[in-house]
């Protein structure tokens, strides 16, 4: 049995202008599991994902993907290692100057050397998997609604059949019905691909829907981690305050708290 985690943050430190954002962060994700990282705004969830994606270098620590340290890799080595990674960004991050299908097929055409004709067919296939028809393929991102842009972003993330998917606040800015539809699509795509998923969100209904496991980030570290079904049962004071949406508790409104005192 393979016990090497798919992805692992090991003792990660990251500071901005001297202020710690991640402080000795440890977390691992097993292959085939869907982990959701929850936490308040400004807690470093996006920083955490950016370190994992190699978009931001941690000040200390190690990020292991398939057991291999990714920190300090050259751009070329990073691109090779991350070929099996798909990402849905918070604002979708679609390329304005390209059509929908060109966005979805971007990796296929520009990194994998697939011909435009084949790439277009595969892009339209991916769009259909996220319930967007071929009629959306030739539109530009500015012609789409926020929900449609998320679907295109999801199609772009899954089109190359990744081994690991990252979702950065997938439902932020969406109405509850569209958010539920995006959550359902995420669950469907992760199951269809049989891949590992890492999501960050502060949307609890979304976290419960898409996560097998949930971890809570607070004060630069993971203060609780467990199966999604235990989220409402744990007596961890951080999780309780977050789930109940109370202003009083160990989490202060400015975002930082005495996280060192409590462990998962």
């Amino acid at each position: 049995m393979n016990t090497v985690p798919k992805l692992e943050w090991k003792a990660i430190d990251k500071r901005f202008n001297g202020a710690p954002v991640l402080a000795g962060l440890n977390l691992s994700v097993a292959a085939g599991r869907s982990l959701v990282i929850i936490g308040g705004s400004g807690q470093g969830k996006s920083v955490m994902v950016k370190t994992a994606l190699g978009l931001m270098r941690p000040d200390a620590g190690e990020i292991a993907l398939n057991g291999r340290d990714t920190v300090g890799l050259s751009e070329r080595a990073r691109r090779k290692l991350f070929a099996g990674v798909g990402v849905l960004f918070q604002g979708s991050a679609l390329f304005d100057s390209l059509t929908v299908w060109e966005n979805v097929a971007f990796r296929l055409i520009n990194a994998d050397g697939v011909s435009r004709r084949v790439a277009r067919d595969r892009a339209i296939g991916a769009l259909e998997r996220v319930r967007l028809g071929a009629d959306a393929a030739d539109l530009y991102p500015s012609e789409l609604s926020g929900g449609m842009q998320k679907r295109v972003g999801l199609a772009r993330a899954v089109v190359a059949d990744p081994e690991i998917l990252f979702f950065d606040e997938p439902t932020t800015g969406l109405d509850p019905i569209t958010a539920a539809a995006i959550d359902a699509l995420i669950v469907e795509q992760v199951r269809h691909l049989g891949c590992t998923a890492v999501s960050i969100t502060h949307d609890l209904p979304s976290a419960r829907t898409i996560g097998d496991d949930i971890a809570m980030l607070q004060g630069g570290k993971i203060v609780w981690q467990g199966p999604a079904r235990d989220l409402d049962r744990t007596d961890n004071p951080y999780v309780r305050q977050f789930v109940e949406g109370r202003a009083d508790g160990p989490i202060t409104s400015v975002g930082h708290s005495d996280a060192r005192a409590v462990h998962a």
Partner: protein, 267 residues
């Protein structure tokens, strides 16, 4: 409130100068590294020919009107000024030669580059800066595509290729502007004007201007790409990047112009 807390903060001039000097050195280093990465990407595989083609059109073709108009009016004004000034020592008749020399060696490449600095540096900085602000550059990296190769290298190459061509247009239209004023306003013989210009000009007069133009093209695209790529702070940051791109491109064009002119001059 204590007296100490009311006192103005004391500025250590040595420290302030040191900090500014270190900042300048850091900025020069960062620009140099960025330029080296961009140039290395431009001359190694993989290339993105569609991007190059798009930039050739955006930077070159769409700059033709502004460069052309600027050149015509500058050539015309230059002709009038030289005629008036030359009249003080009975040298009006050398006006065609001086206009041609001034346009091809100096004003053609410099004005074309300045027009591009305003039009193209700003557009590049705004576009790439907006891509940075909306995580499109991060997205590109996660899609296994090097943004330097995809965004920066085609713009650098296109500007280096296109500005000499725009300079040829500027040279031609600048001389034509001078000719128009000379013939229509100053009663020069049209054929003699062209003959004097053609026999006086040497290949290197035009060639040195084209070499300058290629260097200026690199500067224009580099400043747009560098400031856009390193933009931060949302919409305000994009605006700041655009301003910095135009200003730094213009200053560097003048500095490079002097250095290249010194290099090409044979006193």
């Amino acid at each position: 409130m204590t007296t100490a807390s009311l006192a103005a903060p004391r500025i250590n001039p040595v420290r302030a100068i040191g900090r500014a000097a270190l900042g300048a050195v850091r900025e020069v280093g960062a620009v140099s590294l960025f330029a080296a990465r961009g140039a290395a990407a431009a001359f190694s595989l993989p290339w993105f020919p569609n991007q190059l083609l798009r930039q050739l059109v955006a930077i070159g073709f769409f700059s033709l009107p502004v460069v052309g108009l600027t050149a015509v009016f500058t050539g015309a004004a230059l002709a009038l000024n030289i005629y008036t000034g030359g009249g003080r020592f009975n040298a009006e008749q050398v006006m065609p030669q001086i206009v041609a020399l001034g346009i091809t060696r100096e004003l053609g490449p410099v004005l074309a580059a300045l027009m591009l600095a305003g039009r193209v540096s700003a557009a590049i900085a705004a576009e790439i800066g907006a891509m940075r602000a909306t995580e499109q550059i991060d997205a590109m990296r996660t899609l296994s595509t090097d943004p330097i190769r995809y965004l920066v290298a085609p713009r650098l190459l296109a500007a280096v290729m296109v500005l000499p061509l725009l300079t040829i247009v500027a040279d031609t239209l600048g001389v034509a502007g001078g000719w128009l004023v000379a013939v229509r306003v100053l009663n020069f013989n049209p054929t003699t004007y062209i003959h004097n210009t053609a026999t006086f000009l040497q290949a290197w007069d035009v060639g040195s201007g084209l070499v300058k133009a290629a260097v200026f093209g690199f500067i224009v695209a580099l400043m747009g790409c560098y400031h856009g790529y390193n933009a931060s702070g949302g919409a305000r940051g994009v605006g700041r990047a655009t301003t910095h791109a135009v200003v730094s491109a213009a200053v560097l064009i003048f500095a490079a112009d002097y250095l290249l002119t010194s290099l090409f001059a044979h006193p």
